[in-house]
Symmetry: C2
Subunit: 303 residues, 2 copies
């Protein structure tokens, strides 16, 4: 089949490209760790063209991009829409990369310009565009990751959102703090791990004591209250429990959460949410991004 366009989800530390046919079928896919941080050194155009050349793509094929490539420190700054933001407006506000041989467009992020809750997203707005294209409306959306986002969607509008540093806290604490001495166990955490579920419960019950509960991950091992093997599961559980408590406290009674996540992380959040009696509607994060990029590509280039 003849390629119609290439779609790229360009994150802080990851690069993912799909080659799409006119009807949205994935003809080929490439992944690498050439996210914004590495691509800023190598050159965004060089990274993109090498991947396209590797797929034998012709020089006129258009490319649609979302994510950190549009950040100030990215390829070109694609700006932000302000909340409340209709996700369809992402398409209308795409930035055309000027002076470039092929038609390359970068989708903008969304900013919440509120003095008491200033917040930004880049990449998740395109996943939300994908959700809306797939019929999701008016709900609370949880998007776990390095910087987890909780989004209130009203119709096709992003009404507001909050970011939690959950994934990055796990990463820096497990690698650079005294808790590294408590991380001897397996790095892969099972969603039914007893230590993980206990810690989710604790973090959810006592979110205002996070800084204390984190230390207890280590002291509980030192004093023999918990095995040395489940430190990573407990750290992850505490941070996820803290996030769920804070995000859910700001809402009225929550019955359903749309969970946009991939792989193991999605399974951990689903387990944590279900323990709180929430119905989880799960969407794969990669599928959502692809669907959003495809919506934009159709708007630009379909006859």
């Amino acid at each position: 089949m003849i390629p119609f366009c290439a779609a790229v989800d360009w994150g802080t530390s990851s690069f993912r490209l799909w080659l799409l046919s006119k009807d949205g079928a994935v003809l080929a896919e490439r992944r690498s760790d050439e996210g914004m941080m590495r691509a800023a050194g190598a050159g965004f155009d060089a990274v993109l063209e090498r991947h396209l050349a590797g797929l034998g793509v012709e020089e006129t094929l258009p490319v649609i991009i979302c994510g950190m490539a549009g950040a100030r420190q990215g390829w070109r700054e694609a700006g932000y829409l302000d909340t409340p933001a209709d996700v369809a407006d992402i398409i209308r506000n795409a930035l055309v990369v000027d002076g470039y041989a092929r038609d390359v467009r970068i989708l903008p992020g969304i900013a919440q310009r509120e003095a008491d809750a200033p917040d930004v997203m880049r990449g998740e707005e395109t996943q939300l565009l994908g959700l809306v294209a797939d019929g999701v409306r008016s709900g609370l959306v949880c998007m776990p990751g390095t910087h987890s986002k909780w989004v209130t969607l009203g119709g096709s509008k992003v009404e507001g959102f909050s970011t939690y540093m959950t994934g990055e806290l796990f990463d820096v604490l497990s690698r650079h703090s005294i808790l590294s001495a408590a991380m001897s166990g397996a790095s892969e955490i099972a969603p039914d791990d007893a230590g993980f579920l206990e810690a989710v419960k604790l973090g959810f019950a006592r979110p205002s004591s996070l800084s204390n509960l984190l230390f207890l991950v280590r002291s509980a091992q030192l004093l023999g209250f918990v095995p040395a093997s489940d430190g990573a599961a407990r750290l992850s559980g505490l941070l996820i429990g803290h996030e769920l408590a804070s995000a859910m406290a700001s809402q009225d009674a929550i019955e359903e959460v749309v969970l946009v996540a991939s792989g193991g992380l999605g399974a951990l959040y689903r387990a944590g949410l279900e323990r709180q009696g929430v119905v989880v509607r799960h969407c794969d994060a990669g599928d959502a991004a692809l669907r959003g990029l495809w919506s934009a590509a159709q708007a630009f280039w379909a006859d």
Copy 2:
């Protein structure tokens, strides 16, 4: 004057030695960064003897030590007293370093063996011994640092305590997370810095949203709500505010807090506490450790 003993506060990353006369006067002092982490490689005895030789001390002078030298990964494991622990019992439970030319004793730590709040201290118990020797009784004691301790003292007994990872969270987040991009300003934080005080208030008001508030340190700068110069002050303020909220929530009405701290950190905590309407009684942390070590030395070696 003839030295009576040497007293050592041997922390995780710092070493501090005082040469004391029979009446407790400081004859000489040495400081270095040969804490437990470095001394474990160089050899604790080698580090100690080099400092003593540098002061021309004779081979029979006794040495009293507190802190991480008594940890499992330290020189010799000096064990723990269990809460509720009378600080005077620290002296009776000192560990004599056997097979050593001079009389060297290491004071034990204190453990709180409670399944829902397992916790440990090493070093702070000696500062508490010093406080009690100086007449402090029955109060709430705040001991800020890498791992801040909040201690409930009843008479001369440590009834219970809680550790907060405040200092280490500041360190790892400002160096290893996305917040490093928000730390361009001065590293020295003034206790009357407006950004610091605003952040203390925010962290205190919303302790259960710490993981969200941390991200806002960065996004508030990105969106122009705060200057790029006070990121470190805001991060410090959020973490201290969170700690104060959690530590003070577990207590009945608090009128006075005994603050055991040195230098700039003490000034930041004093400012944060006073904003909550608390009367602060300030003791220098180094003086408290010295006073505690001196109490133990007198019990061992005074005629």
